[in-house]
Amino acid sequence: MNLWSRFFRRQRMMDSLDQDIRDFIERETQDNIARGMAPDEAHYAALHKFGNVTRVKEDTREVWTFGWLEQLWRDIRFGLRALVKSPGFTAVAVLTLGLGIGVNSTIFSVVSTMLLRMPPVHDPDRLMVLFSRKLGATGGSEDANRSPVSPPDFLDWRAQATAYSGIAAATSFENDSKVTLSGGSEPERVPNGEVSANYFDVLGVSPVLGRSFLPGEDQPGRDRVALLRADLWNRRFGSDPHVLGRTVKVNGETYTVVGVMPDTFRQLWMFPEQLWIPLAFTPAQLGPAARSQRSLSVYGRLKPVVTDAQARSELDTIARRIAATNPATNKDWGASVLTVQQYAIQESNAGTALAFLMAAVGFVLLIACANLANLLLARNANRQREFAIRVALGAGRLRVACQLLAECLLLGLLGGGLGLLFAAWGLHLLRGAFDWNEWSILISEQLSLDRNVLLFTIAVSAATALLFGLAPAFQISRRDPNASLKESSRSATVGRERHRLQNLLVAGQLALSLVLLVGAGLFVENFIEEMHARPGMNPHHVLTASVALAGAAYKTPARQAEFFESVLRNLEKSSEVESAAVTNNLPYTFPGRAKFLIEGQAPPPAGDQDWRLTFAGYFAVSPDYFRVTQIPVREGREFSRADDANSAPVVIVNEAFARKFFPNQNPLGHYLRLTPDGSPAEAGTTPPPWREIVGVAGDVDEYVGQANWRPQVFVPFRQQPEGAMSLMVRLRSETTTFAASLRQAVWSVDKDQPVTDLRTMDRVVRDSGQGDDIMAELMGAFAAIALVMAAVGIYGLIAYLVGRRTHEVGVRKALGARRREVLWLVLYGSMRMVLAGVGLGFLVSLAMPRLVLASFHDVHISHSSWILAGTPLAVILVALVACYFPARRASRVEPMAALRFE
């Protein structure tokens, strides 16, 4: 009989029991009358024969109980009543728990978003990501040697691999490409992807309108079709259902819209493409030399019967075959196959940072648990009599313990609920902070309290409740009821062992919070160092923006250079502008690289893959660049208007370059040959010119927190024009209002060119920290919470202990002890425990700097820093303050009042 039917059955049966019993007794009475008794006597005899009616009812009722379930329900109701009766305790407990669980849920939702989400494609477990992999490279794990796939390799893989029901390619999002969408309203730069015709089929995504690409549409000539994403469709076309068949201009070329893809779809849920066009390979991309142009992301859907391992070994074999037949481009190149989940976890470097954060909030939760355990122990001490009586009346010890646990579960659940509220607020704050690049903005949009987080919260609440409830419950069940009933607070030695447990808990709290504080201090130190060290340039009062020229008019370098010259002239006309420049890469953003060759120095041996010896950061800048950035040019000269396409090729190097490649000489007057990455010269046509080194500039970081200066080279942009440049404008005053004028300066040259990514240079610097500032803030916040909780815990414990000893203190004072002696007595007793905790924490924290250094690269912390020494002192100080107030109160106790205190 299942629970429900039993429940209803019981109701019915018990309802009529009264009546049944009465009937029974009535019949027996009648029988007795028939036997000749008087009516009164008959009734009495019947009752007597029946037995104890109440007991019969109870016994009958027991037949229908659900056993443990009813017991639990009863315990919960009782626990609820007990909690309501002591609102102070309940409030503090729920608040503490809520805080501890809340921070855990917040961080866990970040973990869930970044590491655990599955992409919104069909059957993500069978979707694989395929990579090329450089074999046997020195240092670095396998993931560091992964790279995108070249078009000829992709086509070969597709032709030869049998493990997949479909293989498709897309332009790798590492290329971060955007196209200009124009025609109609304002031109707009949107992130785009070029994909194989079967791309959406392989991934398993269906369009919400129209169709996806047809097979064959990725061939040249049939590829002028485009797919939109739903939010682009919404924003730019007003969700017009007749958008199918309309044309749009993409980078000046006309495409027809044939379908709309759902909003939720992103390539590996990371890259925010809004437009897709077919990936049609040019003949150049199909030639043998193109095998080294590795630019594609490749996905494959495993056939149902194939395993990961089989797919991996098959692809390895294919790659080896290709390497054998194409040694020039593919020697030592293999392949790698990952599930999307594996890929997400490995690719997101945030793994380590998140581990630290989870550990930090785990500590906070442990400290909260310790506080709660102490609270419960104290509270139970007051209820000792109650429990003793219940045990004496026949309640099993286990029952009493169970009832306590039920209370704890209630507290846990209430704390969990409050924790969810805190987490919602915490996420709200975090979302605002995740904004340093597109990827982080994407993450921030997806941060939410999803199902994983809810499950996690419930699990944590229950586990926490059990954790802090076990010790008190266990203790309760062990005490002899006799002793408890006889006990009164007059006796001096009250429950020694209980106090040991509480002291241990407080010592543990102190140790944990000390470790956490040291860790946080290290992150804060790192961040401060990063921000203040070696700026190399002056980022204040500088506004930046990006312009990527699109359209047939700008195909030639000369036209590109002309455009930017015009824009610069417009900008300089404004009175707010002190100086203006263009550059192909802003400082503090990872610049593109150029391979260089120094005349007179031996080239590095062929096949040497250490790019540090052959590549430098490459900057194409206008003459005022050094003036705008205020990067000092220490030797030689800056560029001037005279350095243009018709004058001698020149180059400026930075100090790091000079130190590394001209260690004891002056680099001025030497010659360099440069081949920027991705330029046509790389394919081996006309060699680039020899450039004379005319100046040495100061070093600037490529990102905040860089450990070593990297070599950089600067060329005048008129000698090497590019279509996508960043504008930098140094303003005489605050930057905020100039944005519109900046756009105007560009649009008065050509109104069809979008101006994107308007940021102040300060913001660029901050963004390049990739969230280091948030890490420091979060760790700091958690450490502070931990310390406050620990302090509250100590204060509570000491206050409680002192309260228990009030009688004893009264006696002492009556016998002549002075205030200071009592103060000292209490303080001494508590300081022992504090020192023990701090000592333990200190020992553990000694390992922290090493741990942080090993986990992150480019960290600016020192081994024997003042943090290690100072934090324990700070914690001792806080503990002393927390102990002082209760101790002072004890010392002020009136002997007479204390002696009467019961």
């Binding site: 039993r6 049966m13 009937d23 029974f24 024969k49 009616v53 019969v56 037949v63």
Partner: protein, 120 residues
């Protein structure tokens, strides 16, 4: 009279009462009071069932599904709850009877020699 009843009132094990109820109902449905009287009568008044203990036993049997309960009218036209044996109960009766006989036989075997020794 009450003292005599108390002396002779033999305590019944829980399970045994269940068995007796089942057997009584084999003859047909009956209401609670009738069952109690039947047991007393059949045992020739040796077994004076504390009548109250009938109710927990009846509910236990209902919960196990061995008997079912129904409203009905009794012999003197009064409403009463009638209990009847279910098919499962019928089967269970055979099982329980078998167990009881085994138990009784075993106890008898142990007791018998002592009696003989006592006699001789």
């Amino acid at each position: 009279m009450s003292t005599q009843n108390e002396l002779e009132r033999i305590e019944l094990l829980q399970g045994t009462l269940d068995l007796l109820i089942l057997r009584t109902l084999l003859l047909g449905p009956a209401h609670g009071h009738a069952i109690a009287k039947a047991i007393e009568m059949r045992s020739e008044d040796v077994l004076q069932v504390e009548q109250g203990s009938l109710y927990p036993a009846l509910h236990r049997l209902i919960k196990r599904g061995w008997i079912s309960v129904q409203e009905g009218t009794s012999e003197n036209n009064r409403r009463a709850k009638f209990y009847r044996l279910t098919a499962r109960g019928r089967r269970q009766l055979t099982v329980e009877t078998g167990k009881w006989e085994k138990l009784a036989g075993a106890i008898a075997r142990i007791l018998l020699p002592a009696e003989q020794e006592g006699e001789s």
